[in-house]
Amino acid sequence: MRRCNRWLAGLLLTFSTLLSAAPQTVVVMTSYPEEVMTRIEDGFAQAHPQYRLQILWRQGFDALPYLLQARQGGVDVYWAPSPGNFARLAKAGSWQPLGVNPKGLPAQIGGLALRDPQHLYQATELAGYGFAINATALGQLGVPSPRDWPDLLDPRLRGRIALPDPGRVGFAPVLLDIVLRAYGWERGWAIWSELAGQARLVTRGGTLVSDEVTSGRAAVGLSIDFFVASAKANGEPVDFVYPAHGGLNPAFIAITAHSQALAGARAFAQFVLSETGQGLLADADIRKLPVRPSVYQHLPANYHDPFVAAGLGAYDYGNGSSRERLALVSSLFTQWLGMPHEALSALWARLHAAEAAGLDVSAIRQHLTAPPLDAEQAEAKPLLALFAARQDNGMTQAPASDQDELGRREITWQFNAARHRAEASRLLDGLGQ
């Protein structure tokens, strides 16, 4: 009996030690805002009280060099809407197999792969690109709600479009790429030049575009859906239009090769992808698009279902564009359209006035819409490698400098664009505009 008591006492001690033991820490690197992480943290703590998350917050450009360092800085899980980083880190051997059951998680949506072939990383949520609109402001301008990108070129929208500056707003380069892929390099850039020429550049993304639109300062804002959907769910007067040629940005999750908390890391990934975790994405302060289709049946009726939209051809844009390509198109925008934005905007205003007066402006259009780089040059591997190297150093853009090869190229684009603007101005002068 005494032996039995001792055994029982030992068992009780072990049990109470287990109960009072500190949870094991799982280090998660992310760029999600507070609203997302708090809800996920709470949900995960409830489902898996034996683990505790330590959140290391880094933006995508800053996370890449951190995860490339020795032993990956102690990070167990990387979870972020920065798809380029996942591909780059996969090449560097930074991941180990995710080890999460993919049942109920499609591998593809439209042209977008939702996991890599080795299943090292898996999409956890999607964000759609499109237009935040203020219906009242559009009505006052007499402009119908835009359905696709060319609709934004209506001159009545001059000064009333908020365009996040791709050089400064993380999600904006994909906006550029969606149009370039949908309409081709030449036509796509022509749209961007004219659109930039009548838009106001917004230097920060996120809720600032929604602010511009809800306040009526802008009638249309180019945005990711969740900023707008969240503002709408919180009661603000704003709507979101998914254009006919849309695009999705996936957030992925992966477990680092050097993870010291593999079981906890897997439990976290599994939780984020579970029905419960995916359901949290619909919170009014989050409003992301789940990647588990079964979750949509529990969401409000007007919740955008990208799987249904993809079936109708809305998401042919895939994630074939590398991070180097996105950096290139972003830089091209900055050198050609962003930095001289005031001058560009004035030229487009004059052109539209000439057009309204019935004058032939086709040659001038050519000067304002021809990109300083053609499609073939944009695919050149040496050029893309220069952008990749810049990103590995944790930089998205750098001031153009003749001290480095990439800077010299960018200065050339600036010069080329300036020449075309001068010629366009001269031709407009000739038309008396």
């Binding site: 507070e34 450009f61 603000e236």
Partner: protein
């Protein structure tokens, strides 16, 4: 005034009519606590949005490529300001046995520091920082357990009140003996510029007024780091900060471990060696421009305008609120003086429902923590503007300094000390009259 009363206009309604439309906002949606004053020009709006970005910014562990926002910790509670002030409103007390999220724990020993402020714990400092950057252990964990008791109202109805009991676990730097703890949830952050613009002479005049029911009210005298002198305190739950800039700097250091010109030393005690040797994100980490932008943002967050003022229940509740003595401290009408930086805040008629003074709130709410002239039973009168939108904007948040009150009625019943007489009058009211007072509070 008599004519106005005859016309059925209450003091509050009059105040609302006088209040400048530029400093209030009529939005009632879930972003209503995040609206700027009307009439800001484009440059001011840009500054407001820069400040907002910083308020929502997740700060990053140094070193980082994101140099403008690195320097989190080495010891900290949360990574952003908005974490403890969700939607710019109240933080939330945790559920039974759950860890703190938008709540923090102040620490002190009996006595005062050199400036007359609370005496910090020699090892753990002034606040329990639960988290540390990689390589620096967080100080420990506080878990909250709730103890409930029933209070019977005059008509026999029962209200359940709960009080937090904090349990410290996983202490990483040794035992924490004889420490005083005070749990706090983040307060709302709108309308602060207007409170900053109230003249010190107005505070002193209110303090020296004779008041009924044993109500007194004191101005706290606190240390201004910027001006190196004692001044009237007005921010913080015990009015322990003289102005908004110092309140921001103190919170940035205490909650996020971000240094600034007003709080230039990292939050490491001599016993915390790994903390002292951790990388810094600049000197200081929050630069002067950023501190200025945060100040501008918080100073220009509009207070929500009143609603449903002409509904009979609200009007009745407003009269009762005054009649039972609540307005002795929750002042419905104040006029701001001259703000040293921002003209939009000057000479504004406002309805914050506070006097910014310290009052003894009785043993039930006492935390035992002395803070300059505030004793362990005193708290600064909480502003009540925006109260009625709280349930919509942050439905899980409670009321009072530690979020213990789950309803407005619980909050009222917790009042004691100088508010004891008013509390007794409330408790003695019938259900309909109590409901009318709550309807009035919901209209704020």
């Amino acid at each position: 005034m008599t004519a106005l009363r005859a016309a059925g206009l209450s003091i509050g309604l009059l105040t609302s009519l006088l209040a400048s439309a530029d400093t209030t906002h009529t939005a009632t949606h879930r972003e209503a606590f995040a609206q700027p004053f009307a009439g800001l020009d484009e440059g001011q709006l840009e500054r407001f949005f820069r400040g907002r970005s910083l308020f929502r910014q997740a700060w990053v562990v140094a070193p980082s490529r994101d140099e403008a926002v690195d320097g989190l910790g080495p010891l900290y509670n949360r990574v952003s300001c908005i974490a403890c002030h969700p939607k710019n409103g109240r933080g939330q007390a945790p559920a039974q046995g759950q860890p703190m999220r938008s709540m923090l724990l102040r620490l002190s020993l009996p006595g005062h520091d050199a400036q007359g402020g609370p005496k910090p714990h020699p090892v753990y400092g002034d606040q329990l920082n639960e988290l540390g950057v990689p390589g620096v252990p967080g100080e420990g964990r506080a878990h909250v357990y709730w103890q409930e008791h029933a209070v019977q109202l005059g008509d026999g109805e029962t209200v359940m009140l709960r009080k937090p009991k904090v349990e410290l676990r996983e202490l990483a730097y040794g035992p924490m003996d004889a420490v005083l703890t005070s749990a706090r949830v983040g307060p709302p952050v709108f309308g602060l510029g207007l409170l900053e613009a109230i003249d010190e002479s107005t505070l002193r005049a209110m303090a020296s007024e004779a008041k009924p029911d044993g109500v007194t009210g004191h101005v706290n005298a606190v240390w201004s780091v910027e001006r190196q002198r004692a001044e009237a305190g007005r921010f913080g739950l015990k009015a322990n900060q003289p102005d908004l800039r110092q309140q921001i700097a103190h919170a940035m250091l205490g909650d996020l471990g971000i240094t600034s010109t007003l709080a230039p030393e990292q939050n490491c005690t001599p016993a915390q060696q790994t903390c002292a040797h951790a990388a810094q994100g600049g000197d200081p980490e929050l630069n002067a421009l950023q501190l200025g932008d945060l100040h501008f943002y918080l100073a220009h967050l509009a207070a929500p305008a009143r609603r449903q003022q002409t509904e009979p229940a609200v009007m009745q509740g407003e009269k009762l609120f005054s009649a039972i003595g609540c307005t002795a401290c929750h002042r419905p009408a104040l006029v701001t003086g001259k703000h040293p930086l921002y003209p939009a805040l000057t000479q504004q008629h406002i309805a914050p429902y506070t006097d910014l003074l310290l009052h003894d709130m009785g043993p039930g709410l006492a935390d035992g923590r002395e803070d300059y002239l505030a004793n362990g039973r005193q708290w600064r009168t909480a502003a009540l503007w925006g109260l009625g939108l709280s349930e919509r904007i942050t439905p899980s948040s409670g009321y009072l300094h530690d979020g213990r009150a789950r309803t407005l009625e619980e909050a009222i019943v917790w009042h004691g000390g100088e508010a004891e007489t008013a509390r007794q009058r409330y408790v003695a009211l019938g259900a309909q009259a109590r409901q009318a007072i709550r309807a009035f509070l919901q209209s704020l």
